[in-house]
């Protein structure tokens, strides 16, 4: 038998299901349900109809949602007309301004849902001409709310850097033979280098692939690192199962996925990907999951301790803005880059450092983000497999410096299948011999549309003048968003999400706005169920990140 309690409904400071008082005068408020036309409203979807190459029909995409309209009737019951008037006064004092409306359903397992009211309106309703004699008045309350509701409490997720020196990775499997491997479909070895499961799917909207390794492994390190890729588009879930227990990715970067796992002895390891390729991309018939290697590692990044990569679980059913705090206990953060991106981008990670295949002489320097620097005049070259570059628009951004302030010319090229796209831009060097995060250009990648089964790699180069150097370059996919603060001489960075009373959001370093040092200011959206996070702090190793957000829901909250 389920225990039920009374529902709880509040509007601003008023209890819409109980006794209230205004200046000592008492009255009861009662939200009327079925007879009162209670309407929770709905987020109004803004759909865009797109003509396509199809002979008939159009493609529809939902761009965003508009505000919802919540309607209800509220009855005031009192001992006197004074009480009725006070009830009306109290209700109207809450109207016409931002406030909240909360609803707790009667079941004991129900969570409280908060509607974020942007404005509200009141109008009298005369139901029965005997109401005044019964000391009852009824009003229509119309609430214009944000499209999605939220939970009462914000969720805070803390990403603490390990703060350990990377040790040598311990081999689990080099994946050069298929012995011991089984899969959801046909398992084969690709070019003697990787194990692959191939699934023929035709034109489908979802696909699931897995590869399982049988064999005893003693896990002593904190992470299992899998070098993997898949041609399934729009990956929604990647998991590693150790003897049946599933783990979600801890970090994804440069073709590697790390899973945080407990120490122990395991006899089966299973990698599973799940996703779908939404229209209009045509199905190619074949979907692959390919694993090149599995190692145990004590760190979850191929970068240095000045970088942090992590996959954040996002609760809720609708996207939500989040507040991000980057901090270090004792060191200033330096140049800060915060990048969040949808996990649907799959095995993509923004850093190009792990894909470097050529260029000039690298000077090692442990104070730099990548651990070294090289001349831009010697054309640093990066080779990225196409699965690690989901199709789209990217920003080429790099941490560079030059011996003199002023404008310098930078040239980028991207080549695949013999076709090169290129661009030259002039960027401003603000100060001599000072590392700066520089947005170079936009590039649509890959330069040629590639079949999802293609094993081609895209070769990227950068070229700058003499006396210019690069520490680390990035490709930021524009489905994500990044924020940069230059040379922060503070120990904390706070990116505040837009709220009703600070509609543009805000950024603070330490206790103040960074002013011109903030460029660009990103829009960090947290989309359920997971987002990728990539952080750079050039001034310190082992910075930590805290993400705070309210889970957002369609109408009723779960948490």
């Amino acid at each position: 038998m389920m225990t039920t309690t009374n529902p709880v409904v509040t509007f601003g400071s008023l209890d819409l299901y109980g006794e209230n008082d205004l200046n000592g005068i008492v009255f009861d408020l009662e939200m009327i349900g079925s007879d009162g036309g209670l309407d929770w409203g709905r987020p109004e979807a803004v759909d865009v109809w797109v003509k396509s190459l199809l002979m008939d029909g159009s493609l529809v995409a939902t761009q965003r949602h508009e505000n919802r309209q919540v309607e209800m009737q509220v009855r005031i019951v009192a001992d006197s007309a004074d009480g009725l008037q006070s009830g009306e006064e109290a209700l109207f004092l809450e109207c016409s301004r931002p406030t909240t409306f909360t609803w707790t359903p009667p079941d004991e397992t129900a969570a409280t849902t908060v509607f974020i009211v942007l404005t509200s309106h009141l109008s009298p309703v005369v139901e029965d001409d005997l109401d005044e004699r019964r000391l009852t008045r009824t009003y229509q309350l119309s609430l214009t709310c944000e499209p999605f509701t939220r939970s009462v409490d914000a969720i805070t997720e803390t990403v603490t850097p390990l703060g350990v020196v990377p040790a040598a990775a311990v081999l689990i499997d080099e994946c050069t033979v298929s012995t011991g491997w089984t899969g959801s479909d046909t398992v084969s070895v690709v070019s003697g280098q990787a194990v692959r499961v191939t699934h023929y799917s035709g034109y489908v909207s979802t696909a699931e692939l897995w590869l399982q390794r049988a064999g005893t492994v003693v896990v002593t390190e904190a992470f299992i690192r899998v070098k993997m890729s898949t041609t399934i588009g729009n990956v929604t879930s990647t998991t590693l199962s150790l003897d049946g227990t599933e783990y979600a990715p801890y970090a994804v970067s440069a073709g590697f996925t790390w899973f945080a796992v407990p120490a122990g002895t395991y006899s089966t390891m299973k990698i599973r990907v799940y996703g779908g390729r939404p229209p209009p991309y045509p199905g190619t018939g074949f979907e692959y999951l390919t694993i090149w290697s599995m190692y145990q590692t004590n760190v979850a990044t191929i970068g240095t301790r000045r970088e942090l990569t992590h996959v954040v679980d996002v609760e809720g059913s609708a996207r939500t803005p989040a507040t991000v705090v980057v901090s270090h206990a004792s060191n200033n953060l330096g140049n800060i880059v915060v990048y969040t991106y949808p996990r649907a981008l799959g095995p993509y990670g923004p850093s190009l450092a792990g894909f470097r295949t050529g260029g000039g002489a690298v000077t090692l320097d442990a104070t730099l983000v990548s651990g070294g620097r090289e001349p831009l005049s010697a054309t640093p070259t990066y080779t990225v497999p196409q699965e690690n570059l989901p199709q789209g628009t990217y920003e080429i951004v790099a941490l560079i410096r030059h011996t003199a302030a002023g404008k310098i010319s930078l040239t980028w090229t991207a080549t695949v299948a013999g076709v090169t796209s290129t661009g030259t831009v002039k960027v401003t060097i603000a100060a001599a011999n000072t590392w700066q995060v520089t947005a170079i250009d936009w590039v649509d990648l890959p330069p040629l549309a590639l079949k999802s089964t293609s094993d081609k790699s895209i070769v990227l180069t950068l070229l700058g003048p003499a006396d210019s150097e690069v520490d680390i370059p990035w490709l930021f996919h524009t489905d994500g968003s990044y924020t940069v603060v230059a040379d922060a001489a503070e120990k904390t960075l706070t990116i505040v999400a837009p709220e009703a009373d600070q509609q543009g959001g805000m950024v603070y370093v330490g206790d103040h706005h960074p002013g011109a040092a903030l460029k660009p200011w990103g829009r960090h959206q947290f989309i359920p169920t997971q987002i990728g996070l990539y952080l750079v702090t050039s001034g310190t190793e082992d910075a930590g990140v805290t993400l705070t957000y309210y889970p957002r829901w369609f109408t009723h909250a779960r948490l």
Binding site: K407, T478, Q503, M506, V507, G515, K519
Partner: protein
Amino acid sequence: MPAGLQIMSGGVWVSAIGGWGDCEWSTVTQGSDELSWAMSTVRHSALRGRQLVTLYAGGIPVWAGRLNEPDWDAGTFSATGLWTLAEGYPALDGAGVVTSCPDDAIDAAIAKGLSWTRPDSLSAAAFSTDTQGEVSTLAELLDAWADSVGKWWAVNARREVYAYTKPAASFQHTPTGGSPVPTDDGFVTALTGRRRTITGGYATDTVVDVDAEARWGHKEDTIDLTHLGYLPAAKAQSVLQGQLDKGRARMGWGQGIAVTNHQLLTMGGTPANTYAAVAGKTLRMHVWDDSRELSGNTTLDVMIGRSTHRQDDPVVELEPFQMAATALPDVLATLKGTRKR
């Protein structure tokens, strides 16, 4: 589609002042044209008229201009592109003497407060050896010089002034039915220019596009070049020929297109970045139309003359260069001779 639009006005991020939205912006062949957005806010020094405004998509600037005096009651803000400022500066050099050298005129205007930068030379040569007392505006000088070398001049979103020729196609348009509609508004096969002679008298020169005449017959227009001072015949003819070559000797267009990145692809076949589909880029249209080019090509490479973008909207509106003037502001600008060419 790139997300993350932010506006910086007067060195301050507008988001730090308050919430804003309904952002719309357009570009023309001379660079950023118009930008508008709405926000309800108290007055702020960074939002006073004449402040420098830049629109960023992520870290890339996509529009730059100067803020017009805001309508505080309505909460609407608009800004005008940096290229239009050239109309407000006379073509003088650093000493205040009339000049017809584009580089000198630009540098002097920058020194006086024009918010451009000039990273490269446009031309270090005097356009006219004797201006004969005429003082053209910086815009008129740059227009004439650019025509004479078959280029367009523009100020990009990084505030750099530069000149360019019609580039190779960077976008292709997948047709969803119908073909572009040509119109002969603005189309000519011959241009006659009236110029000053070395003695201060007047002379006229005519250039003709022979291929266009053969195809469509004779249609003529007159251009007044007397504001540039003395021009030898060859120079005047190069200005007129440049205008014909840039597109006046071919049929114009009666309508633009509205596309998303499903219909606008890169030349590599991937969905295009609609924010990068700006005026000055070239669009390949996969139709065969013999009203352009007269070259036997089976595709049509048309330069974008105007692009209009909206925040959160996957649709970009593109008008081809040589669009017929139908909107009143464009008609007035054509009559005044300041229509973007």
